[in-house]
Amino acid sequence: MDRDRYAAELLQPLVREPAGPSQVDIAQAIADGERRRRTVRLVSAGGAAAVTVLALVAVWTIARPAQEAAPFGGVTPPLPDPAAEATGTPSAAATVPAPPASCTVRRLPMPAGHPAKSIVTGGDPTGRYIVGRSYPKGGRSDRILIWDRGKVSTATMTGADPQLSDVTSTGVAVGSSFVNSEDLVTAAWVYRNGKITRMPGEDAEARAINEREVVVGSVNGRPAMWRSPTSQPTMLATPDGSGWQGWAAAVDEDGTIVGRLSRGNSWDQAYLWRPDGTLEALPKPTMNGKPATTYTADAIRNGWVAGWSALDEGATRHLAAPRWHLPTGELDMIDRSVIVNAVNRNGWVVAETDEASLVAGDRYVRLPGLHDAVSLRAVIPYTISDDGATAAGQASLTGDGGDPVAVVWNCR
């Protein structure tokens, strides 16, 4: 619901009457229909019986005793810090590094024979793995791409519009595709060691995975969590009453999950599921001195939560990028930003401001596009590593808003 008005206004120029007289011919439809009726009767005599597949979904209640492995009902042992492992610094000394001074952009390599058009759809906390997709046949025939330290490999995910959404520092990625072209049913997938396998759950979407390989997303349009990519999904708690819809968008290393929920015609609201399953609404951002009309939480890392909020005042919709810090309960707005796509362990974000930026504390570091001279905004950052040295996303190849290509930024 959150973007309804903006979406309707955005698409408004397309509202036009079809020009010219209709060429539709009812008599032709009857003639063709008569022919097809005969064909249909022959075929349907040997038609296969429909097979109904029941979704196997365990319903998770908070009352369940804390017998499962953490983070779902117990104390969570500290995790090895993937960024520390990668850089060789001990995780105990988890001090905030100095923010980078500048960032340089370069294109990510494409598989041989693939056209340039490509996008980034996720990255791991160390900056080693980046996932995305290409369009080898043009149009909408998508192919999954995985970059490991800048070296590209491809994978094929069954179904239409395949996408890997997130990846761990060990290269395990999750995503979704449409598996039934008529019914708009999604399936969740896990990528590991070059192989993509389907995750349990009907009409499932996998949106994020943490280092413990806990996966979150949705099943049947409601927030869900998988204890592992092979587990049956567990439905997350929703507020009292029926009809809640939404999804879990991201999961922290301690098992804290953030996402969004709405019901009926209500606006989306950001929610938080504690590691023990307790549901909480995230504090509502204030904009122009008024409570936001709608707000969402889309990313979480080390207790930092990044999201999106809007305030409708008359015909104007104000947008902002809220950031919550769970340990302190603080909520601030990332100045000059309207879209934040990722947050790292220090609360640094990649944001779309007047231009694309890496925002580290008070410092705004420009993420350059491939054509600096061109004024059109055509740079989208999508991931940021824990050390702030690597970000990834896409930039227009021609600088004029044309085909996007996958890029990586090195910041120091």
Binding site: A7, A8, L14, P18, V24, A160, G221, H318, V338, S375
Partner: protein, 170 residues
């Protein structure tokens, strides 16, 4: 089919052609393809007329057939042809509006087809989430997530002016 059934069919379809054509046009952005979508849809409807003519929500049923025909169109070799090609030929009194529409239509054409259908039905045809879900045989949650995904993709594809307009809430 008996003559009176056929007459019912002709009456029903005649009364719905304009609406169906409008929805088909919004879905695909091209008059010729819109006509083709409607032609295919009413042919399928004729084949099933005896079974469906008395269903309670016939309009919704036919709209769903139309949307599915649109979704299935991706398999046809010519499905990617002509979105932009058809637009500039059309004379228009308001050039910048045509330009806006062209940019938007080109961007929309790059959005995955199911998301296109969700965006068009929800925001251009002004259908409720429940009606879109019904038309696409999916959950309301899927409609919402696809609308969000589709909008995010559109946003990425659109140029600076469109984006700044959205930011200012225009």
């Amino acid at each position: 089919m008996r003559a009176e059934e056929r007459q019912e069919y002709v009456e029903y379809v005649s009364g719905r052609l304009a609406t169906l054509r409008q929805v088909a046009y919004l879905l695909c952005g091209d008059e010729h393809r819109a006509d083709d979508l409607v032609q295919q849809t009413i042919t399928k409807l004729y084949v099933r007329w005896r079974q469906v003519s008395h269903v309670e929500h016939l309009d919704q049923y036919v709209r769903r057939m139309l949307v599915r025909t649109f979704l299935d169109e991706r398999r046809r070799p010519w499905s990617r042809v002509g979105l932009l090609a058809a637009l500039p030929e059309r004379p228009s009194p308001a050039d910048h509006r045509v330009e806006d529409a062209m940019v938007l239509r080109a961007a929309l054409a790059q959005v995955p087809r199911r998301q296109q259908a969700v965006l068009v039905l929800r925001y251009l045809c002004d259908m409720s989430i429940e009606d879109v879900a019904e038309a696409l045989s999916c959950s309301a949650g899927t409609v919402k997530s696809q609308a969000n995904r589709g909008l995010a993709t559109l946003r990425r594809l659109l140029d600076a002016e469109a984006v700044s307009a959205l930011r200012e809430g225009n």
